[in-house]
Symmetry: C2
Subunit: 161 residues, 2 copies
Amino acid sequence: MKQYISEQTTRAESLFRSFMKSEGLRCTSERIDVLQEVYRSGAHLDADEIYSRLREKGTGISRATVYHTLDLLFRLNLVSRIDLGHHHTHYERVLGVANHLHFVCQRCGKVSEAASSQLDGMVEKLCATHEFSLGSFSLQVFGECLDREACTFRAGKENAG
Amino acid sequence: MKQYISEQTTRAESLFRSFMKSEGLRCTSERIDVLQEVYRSGAHLDADEIYSRLREKGTGISRATVYHTLDLLFRLNLVSRIDLGHHHTHYERVLGVANHLHFVCQRCGKVSEAASSQLDGMVEKLCATHEFSLGSFSLQVFGECLDREACTFRAGKENAG
DNA sequence: CTCCTTGCAAAGCCTTTGCATTTAC
DNA sequence: GTAAATGCAAAGGCTTTGCAAGGAG
């Protein structure tokens, strides 16, 4: 698994470098840092979490740059935006995790994931039918954990709105 | 179609009334107004659009009440929250439109919809497997219109971020 | 050398909150 | 009559923007 993430991170980085070159944009260390943070964590982070993690690692990045870079990565379809019901955007890597969805419990706020082998194909088929070029997609399911013992997670930042 | 929407609006309203009764909450005219606005429009509106539309109709509702009510309707799974990449939440009716998804063009900002007969069943199956009780779901696909002539839509509020 | 990018701080926008008033039941 | 809901305005929190300084190509 660790191997796999590292592989996708490298792949994302090299894709990013060619995108940048073809668009006449610059590959700054800040941009690479943001890309790596999203890819290595493998979780759904919000802009502030990315900012804090990078600052903790000693990167002197600013919030403005984090937001700018996330916009850029989103436009290039290297990260996807997801709405977990917290009234602010979360970001997630695209490469290597296309076929999954999020369950958001409206009672305890917990976010869990599920993979589906069908999902990817289905979205691709729908895009083809509707003349749409697929960049990224996100599927959120809101509801409640059925396992009431598991439904206890509470943390300020992670609770459903 | 108009007949169908009206039917779903009535169904939503009566469901809403029983929910309210069972929870000991009150059916105020403001709450009914918000519910009807979302159901009758049939589109994905944001909180401010709902507020403006109701004000234009002469309803003296406040923004605070619109937000409170949308929270309530979301918790009751009568409306769903969707993220169309505009950094603020849009709302959509749940009853009668479960099996559809949104295409968001990152170039022109246009949002279009597609229905899928498989989608609903697939999400239900995944919920069952993962011990999750389905309230509502939303699927957004970000990418670009392939039909370049159609890809021209530009309007401040509706552009992709 | 150019002009893209960064960082800071301020501004902007959406959403929530506190409190007095109103209202559904 | 009483607890719940509304409305206003202010506060809060996430995101964007303007501009000077810095840096990649």
